[in-house]
Symmetry: C2
Subunit: 230 residues, 2 copies
Amino acid sequence: MEPITFSERSLSEYTAKQLIDFIITQKLQPGDRLPNETELGKALGVGRSTVREAAKILISRNIIRIERGKGTFVSQNPGVPDDPLGFQFVQNKSQLILELLQLRSIIEPSLAELAAQNATEEEIERLRFFEGKLEEAYKKHMDHSEFDVSFHTNVAKCSHNSVVDLIYPVLIKTVPMTVEYTQGVLVPETIDDHVAIIDAIARHDGDTARSVMDTHIKRNIQFIKTANIE
Amino acid sequence: MEPITFSERSLSEYTAKQLIDFIITQKLQPGDRLPNETELGKALGVGRSTVREAAKILISRNIIRIERGKGTFVSQNPGVPDDPLGFQFVQNKSQLILELLQLRSIIEPSLAELAAQNATEEEIERLRFFEGKLEEAYKKHMDHSEFDVSFHTNVAKCSHNSVVDLIYPVLIKTVPMTVEYTQGVLVPETIDDHVAIIDAIARHDGDTARSVMDTHIKRNIQFIKTANIE
């Protein structure tokens, strides 16, 4: 592939950086509307077509998004792409699942403990709601992985740590893959574990929340390791 | 800002996705060279200028990079941007530092324990080397934060978990910010802690490695919390 010339790259990329600085210094929040191309061009001292090129770069990085007929807005989690750690490029997917589960086994017991310390009544209600959905899906022989993800994501949210909010969706990508590996065999244990974790969080019992979460994730790791060996 | 027309967006973005699929299905590894524009255009059934547009999108996502006069290559950590969780858009930076340190206090004691189990002789030598550099910088009243980052990053590497390798550089972004906050006051304690952690890793004593790392990170959290209150 022939290299893109320096001037061509630098102009749009320089403007993209300026546009990022504009968003930060103007303290634009997720969902806030950006000025139009002409106004931005004036503010950044470049032409409309350069603003447009820079905007394309920011769109591809999930910093801004376009709503047709409405304008251009700051994204919900600006700068966080769909796959921020490039898992799609990892070839050994079964190793990836085990390594993600190992990291989850390190993090999630502590998150469950923090959840028991910090969860509000409303958050506990939400946990019970998604758990009900999981049980319903299981009884109807439907795919439950979405509700499994919701449960773990909501426990993580109860930790009230906003970095966890950003990082957790990356780690939880294992769940649909794990469910595929375990063929749903562990669902009854999963439901029992989840209910025990919610109960512990509800009575603000951090030690129990931590220890049940630990058992829960390690059981999945053990199951997958055994399945891989066979 | 006027929306970019659908056809314009979709053609280059569709081709960008095709190009990602090409990299994955051809099992191209970091550092591998991509075919030239003409060949890629043929493989993907589009013109050279569309390939070029798609390549720009992949460059902006750090999936490929151009080396002038040499060609286009798969990036070292494809798809992982500089700031994958968008920390630059977080306004409350002192809260961000504390939340990152809270997450590090959850993860790093376990990583130190894994390091004690898995580190090779060569890796332990590397830990001692960077620790020597940190002490040297401190004695010469130079900025030591780079070597502090090296120490923690290398302990994380010793865990031999490739997801940790991807995620850790994101968490360690606190170090230069923390050093700024603590004004280097904690350096003597930092050096003692680091040496104790390396010694524990070297004699494969996971319990001690875990507990010293725990103390080390919590001391920083306590210091910053106290400094913020004052």
